[in-house]
Subunit: 307 residues, 4 copies
């Protein structure tokens, strides 16, 4: 059950990057929350490519439609089904490399695990799947903002130059996203397995291309003395939120899709040089902040319902 997230506030994500549509079903949202397509759209627009020189130039209209769960502008407590049709598809770009396993990609893993693969794009581990997360997260964050005043703000810490350099060379580069959760609800999380930091870590590492997660002082804490660290407002204690702001950092690896020529293996075990066409982000982290915020909102919302 890879595609359902959460215990009481659940997000079911579906859709392939090159299929007919991408969608999300949110279940467990309390009744009475005002939700509109326009409201959700603003978050989808933030993750949309083609917005600057340093993101992919694919034009994705990505217009969300609400199919259920909202009546007269308000949630009814029933599942909220949202759909975004796939429009601008360059499947042809993939046709020529369909037998090749792109380096750093899940192609080989998919063929091994499922014995069968939609070679057009990254399938379910594609960045496009994150549309579902952003749509679902937009509902969670609205509820938390209205109910508890919680705000999620993520930013990327990388200079544009290094991204443009990578792009110029047909290469890609990684990045780090910093997340601040202001006014999180108090008393979320449980002291053993469902620690707030554990669930946040899981949520973040489930975003494609992530390789690291820190909360509070993170790896820096490893070199600190207890007498120092105890003075720091850590946000969670024994896994439970204190109501203090929560700080996280998430590491993204460079996107493996690069036009620069690389050695690759194919299904038959042969090796050869490939160049991945198509319009890919030189730095996936650039579009990630809204995804990071969304996943954090899903985690906190689910914990809030368990209070």
């Amino acid at each position: 059950m890879s595609s359902v997230f959460g215990k009481l506030f659940t997000l079911s994500s579906w859709g392939e990057s090159h299929g007919k549509a991408i969608g999300a079903v949110v279940d467990g949202c309390p009744a009475g929350l005002e939700i509109s397509e326009e409201y959700i759209q603003q978050f989808l627009d933030r993750r949309k490519p083609g917005q600057s020189a340093i993101t992919t130039q694919r034009k994705e209209s990505d217009l969300v439609k609400i199919l259920s769960g909202v009546f007269e502008g308000k949630t009814t407590g029933t599942p909220i089904s949202m759909i975004v049709e796939n429009a601008d598809q360059h499947s042809a770009d993939y046709e020529q490399i369909k037998d090749w396993w792109r380096p750093g990609h899940a192609d080989e893993a998919y063929d091994s695990k499922y014995g069968f693969r939609d070679y057009r794009g990254g399938g379910r581990s594609s960045a496009r799947e994150t549309i579902a997360r952003v749509a679902g997260g937009s509902i969670a964050r609205k509820f938390l903002k209205e109910k508890c005043g919680t705000e999620f703000t993520a930013t990327i810490n990388i200079d544009n130059n290094s991204i443009e350099n990578a792009k110029k060379n047909g290469d890609s580069i990684g990045g780090i996203v910093s997340l601040t959760i202001k006014n999180p609800p108090k008393n979320l999380g449980e002291p053993v397995f469902d620690r707030t930091e554990a669930l946040l870590a899981m949520a973040m590492l489930s975003i494609p291309a992530t390789r690291g997660f820190e909360i509070g002082k993170g790896f820096e804490a490893a070199n600190m003395l207890g007498s120092e660290h105890n003075k720091f407002a850590d946000g969670t204690y024994g896994g439970i939120t204190s109501g203090e702001d929560i700080l996280c950092r998430i590491a993204f690896k460079p996107t493996p899709s690069i036009s620069k020529t690389q050695m690759a293996k194919n299904k038959n075990g042969a090796f050869g040089e490939i160049s991945i066409k198509g319009r890919h982000d030189p730095c996936v982290a650039v579009r990630a902040p809204v995804i990071v915020e969304s996943m954090a909102a899903l985690v906190l919302m689910d914990l809030w319902l368990q209070l």
Copy 2:
């Protein structure tokens, strides 16, 4: 449901640091695996304090008893109940600070969340709860070793001097644990939410005192080019294991229990100086490697059953 871990191979953990016993119930273990108390004991012994100058001097006998699930030396497919009685308890050490919220501890969070707290020790967020994880993990790793040749090895990267210095000053220090999973089963994990790295991250951040998690190149990947990173054997692709070794690093903060005098708040909102008595680890990371290995084994075992 904070105290049950896993989907098909589940670990139920119970027991307080200063209660009668600590226990674990493992459900979903395939029948026919040879398991003995002696076998499990060796892993518990590795996490036991009092083994060197740089760990706490509490003497914990920590003898495990198997109460169910094993018949004629082999698992029967039924729940395996294991119990470790608590022996050497210095509850008196806690009596004097029972109204105080120890800095960096979950005391205040517990009082806020549950309105009621067993003031003796850290309750469920205590390091002692990890006995259950090690007992449960010992079964998972045995299965994976015999079935797939998988081995889990974690080490701590810190010099003893800095720990002894901290100890001398009544202080504590953090640390980083490195984990290598050799020969992990192939095809574990799912491409969306149940990515192998996401479940490992959750497992690790559920260990008390953890603040960060990395897999593969981790935060370093943020500064790498795609053309470089693609050459690296990453262990998981699109969340799915490739059978290559998996490398993780986990950051531990310094234990908040220090004898050095600190300012603290109490239940009534008053401030005062406290010194935490009792025999506490100057560096919790020292005893953490076997816990880290155990959690990793639980994650992979659960995913293996979902293959």
Copy 3:
């Protein structure tokens, strides 16, 4: 999380009877299964109203579209999203009773639980929601048929006369559906909580209007001697399937929507007479067999994946 069914083979159901569409997302289906819209459609057609004098005359085209998870005619192991647009809606029929709580209906319960209600039709507890179950079940049964030769056949045990009589009087009547599962896979189910019969009972009692469930000899077994009953092929022993055929019976109450005048309460506590217009089934059990078969297939498929 009321709208997600199953552990490894999950069905997420969404959509209101009078919203834009009804949909289902199936996750966890193995890759490589041939699935087409035509195949699924034949099961949806079996539950469709308007097929005989004894079912409602609503014309539901109920054409299913597959939006994801199938590539070149075969499942890819990714979530299968299916959608059925709502067409023939007589919301006006509901407008006049929107403030009334229909006797035997969930109207009052909804208002009490959610404080807010889509008064058009039965919302999520409507029979129309079962489209999602039939669509999802059609995939499960295809897999089980091809893999294990399993077949699900349900029939209704009621004479048409009594239904027509009820209809003539603006009334409704209950019914019993009998289910035979031929060649179920062996070894499904677990001996404690996840007994096959427990999961079947839950699945059946989650169908709207159900009030009873029997397996094997059912209530008759209460009057049998052990020496007799032991000779009977019971299908499950200790909760585990033996591979013998499984027999179940499910009791449906009469649909509460009747045009016959009834006393009803409204939101303000007032009482009055109402007559429920619209085209309702005089006996919901008539269309239920394919729903019963579908739920049984979902249960067995989920257990099969846990083998």
Copy 4:
């Protein structure tokens, strides 16, 4: 995961009928509930055999010990571990039939599913496992009684004569248990899969030897007209509790363990006559009421936490 029940209020059940002990871990119980071993014991005593001529004469002391989760007489919000040691074991009774599959028992199913079996007693599908359910249920019902005034009362509907006749003939007989839930909390349950009746049905059919479940008018409803049935206080509407009393009936088959000579198969496929020694209940339903009450309490408690 057959041995964990519930979503937020979870019961982990462990232990074999002829192992060292039987135990239960309850997780998710709110803090502050007064619980003592004496309180729990009274419910265990009700399911204890040897209390009358019509139950088995095994003497089970069945004394429960609380090992965690209760501090100064009150729950702390942490897992409550309870244990009952197994005392009076007549494993020798089983030695002679260890290679035989007892008719109507799970012996063959266990050998087929797990390839390995503890031949002493019924293993996990034994009636003795229900100790865990009664212990866990006793906590749930106390909470619901104090918080909502809810009371669970089950009775068996069978005359003692037929049981004594069966006993005299070395035979057994089935029975029906009727359950009344007085003052259930309002608004429990969800309209689709987690309907209150669905969860109750699952809970009841997970009790060993059950074959049928009814709620409200049950199978009788199948022959009723809507105009009649709508007048009946049904307890749940659209799966949601109304606060009205809930009535259920549960069918138990005759216990398959009888001393009367029966034909049986053994592991090698041979047939022969066996007589099952040991002290078995002539009617398992006699001791079932407290088990039925306990399972109902677990279901309602879990739903209550999801409100």
